[in-house]
Symmetry: C2
């Protein structure tokens, strides 16, 4: 890995320039922070223009102070005509502009086309993802801190989750603990799901009260200097039913074995294949309804996933969730998730908590 972040993106994208463009919140491209290395600010309607001669950060006057010390030359605008002019100046003479098709709005792309006067747009998403997938030391340090914070909260869950509490109350307690432990807000909405709600992978915490015999699924993360962690722990309020116990053990084993396959050079489909095989063999075929994991960093979902359909290879420096699950609609769900770094020696769990079956 040589050169700065912007240089590597430019090189891989094979474009004359790469433009990272933010719209209004929440349509902001985390690559803006990756390239500028700023850790604060909102930077709505701001852009980073990467060119071989260097990076220009086109920033609204409102964000000028936040952008001080950023990696790149600052250009400040006060209204949208000035923004268009600065884009035009920065892109003058380029014929192929790389943009991230998945992180720019159609309106942003149209604006860019106009400002660049007929230049061709090209999807630089894969180039950007490829560079961002391989975390550098500063990034691993930040992700590691975010993982430590989430792990401390995971260890406290048996002490804070009580019968009679609502999902919303439990989520509030988790969020409060995350902040107390040093998280900057929460990188995604904390999920707490009781009983049959745990069968919904993206359940929003509601008024449901924890009663004896229910599964308790908690999925949350911390944020440290803009970098994320992601962790899920499933427990039971009282003795689980036989089917729940079997599901828990299957998911725990699927996660264990899947993580062990997260080696540099391994196919990204392999951890999913292994985990799915274990879950199927345990009698839960068709109940693991998502992929084994997703990369994370500045975003809680970024880069590639580890699914049956993944075609790429795992590489040293990647950070990914490892989160098999079993979901029985109308009954219960189990998911166990860690954030894992693919190190030179193989998988390294950055989050940690007691993964043996926990009864509250």
């Amino acid at each position: 890995m040589s050169g700065g972040r912007a240089e590597r993106i430019l090189e891989l994208s094979e474009a004359d320039a790469v433009v990272i463009m933010n719209s209004r919140e929440p349509f902001l491209d985390p690559s803006f922070w990756y390239v500028s290395q700023v850790s604060g600010g909102l930077f709505e309607s701001c852009a980073a223009v990467l060119r071989p001669g260097g990076t220009e950060l086109i920033v609204s006057s409102m964000e000028a102070e936040e952008a001080e010390g950023a990696s790149g030359t600052l250009r400040i605008y006060s209204n949208s005509e000035e923004l268009d002019d600065l884009l035009h100046d920065a892109l003058d003479g380029t014929s192929v502009i790389g943009v991230n098709y998945s992180r720019i709005t159609l309106a942003g792309a149209e604006r860019l086309r106009k400002a660049a006067g007929g230049a061709e747009l090209k999807d630089a998403g894969k180039a950007i993802d490829a560079v961002r997938s391989i975390k550098d030391e500063d990034e691993l340090e930040r992700i590691g801190r975010a993982c430590e914070i989430a792990s401390r909260v995971a260890e406290e869950l048996p002490a804070i989750i009580r019968r009679g509490m609502s999902e919303q109350q439990a989520a509030a307690e988790i969020d409060s603990l995350l902040r107390k432990e040093g998280s900057e807000g929460t990188p995604f909405n904390t999920i707490v799901a009781f009983g049959q709600n745990a069968a919904k992978p993206h359940h929003s915490p509601g008024p449901k009260i924890l009663e004896d015999g229910m599964a308790v699924l908690c999925d949350f993360g911390a944020s440290y200097r803009r970098y994320c962690s992601d962790l899920t722990r499933t427990m039971f309020a009282g003795e689980p039913r036989e089917e729940e116990r079997r599901a828990y053990e299957a998911v725990a084993m699927a996660q264990e074995q899947g993580v062990l396959a997260m080696n540099p050079g391994e196919r990204a489909s392999e951890p999913d294949r292994i985990a799915r095989g274990i879950i199927d063999a345990a009698g839960f075929a068709g109940r693991f309804i998502h992929s084994f994991g997703h990369e994370l960093g500045l975003s809680v979902h970024e880069g590639g996933v580890m699914s049956a359909r993944s075609q790429h290879l795992l590489q040293e420096g990647m950070v990914s969730s490892a989160e098999p699950g079993i979901y029985i609609p109308g009954s219960f769900g189990v998911r166990i998730e860690d954030t894992v770094h693919i190190g030179p020696e193989g998988p390294r769990r950055l989050t940690s908590f007691d993964r043996s079956l926990t009864i509250l």
Copy 2:
């Protein structure tokens, strides 16, 4: 106002169909929830197809349970080929498809173009915004609840902000109180800015410690059944300097007079003109570096803004922030913000807190 939400959007957009399409978090279009009237779920890579015959919700199998009871016919897919097939089926025979250019990614738009086989895309953003701008009773009820929650927290600020506390600690306390008062997470990252950090409108809370003589700016909101509130209160730790006091009084008066102009039929530029005039006259010309307000609802920023350049008229049923500010780089900042409903009788503040100068 007649017909359902989808019907009104279709009518205004003058397209054969309108497609609302989610990408991966956070590139999700709140209009998906507006049209489907679901209040949970994540619905990544899901779409709502609005056609004269009715609305189809194309939803991944993972979200099928969350989508139960939604307004629209459910179509479930398990992989991306099935998603493309369902889009193709739903759009068969349409020649003009409305999409929200500001809320669809370029990748989403390209996918739609392919699935629809040559149909023309058209920006339906203004039509969607126009419908969503006028809040119905259910929406006003939810926004009102979100405002009450934020107001209760604003009233508690003088009790919880203490010298020796860091911005991050103060933000954590605010977030925790918001959840305790019933907020579902926080609709945007809470801003706490001390002293010269208050001069940065979008400051991220950091390790800065509150000391005597500093301004204390807190900007936060609550979320209730997906609807937001937005509120800013500025206070001072100890007696403010003369310039700070003058700035505070100017902002308070600018907000007061600006809000009074938020009447149905008034030009949307008028509150900004009035507030800016007051701030300029007080000797702070050029220090109010953003617009007077922005509409909010399902998103904390949506629809139109009230700025000097606004061309539209205010209408009954709109809900907007009213938030003039003065920012002196390297020194301090003041902002006072309420969420305001434009009712039939004129402006109605949905948030409330003591706006007189508060010394901690």
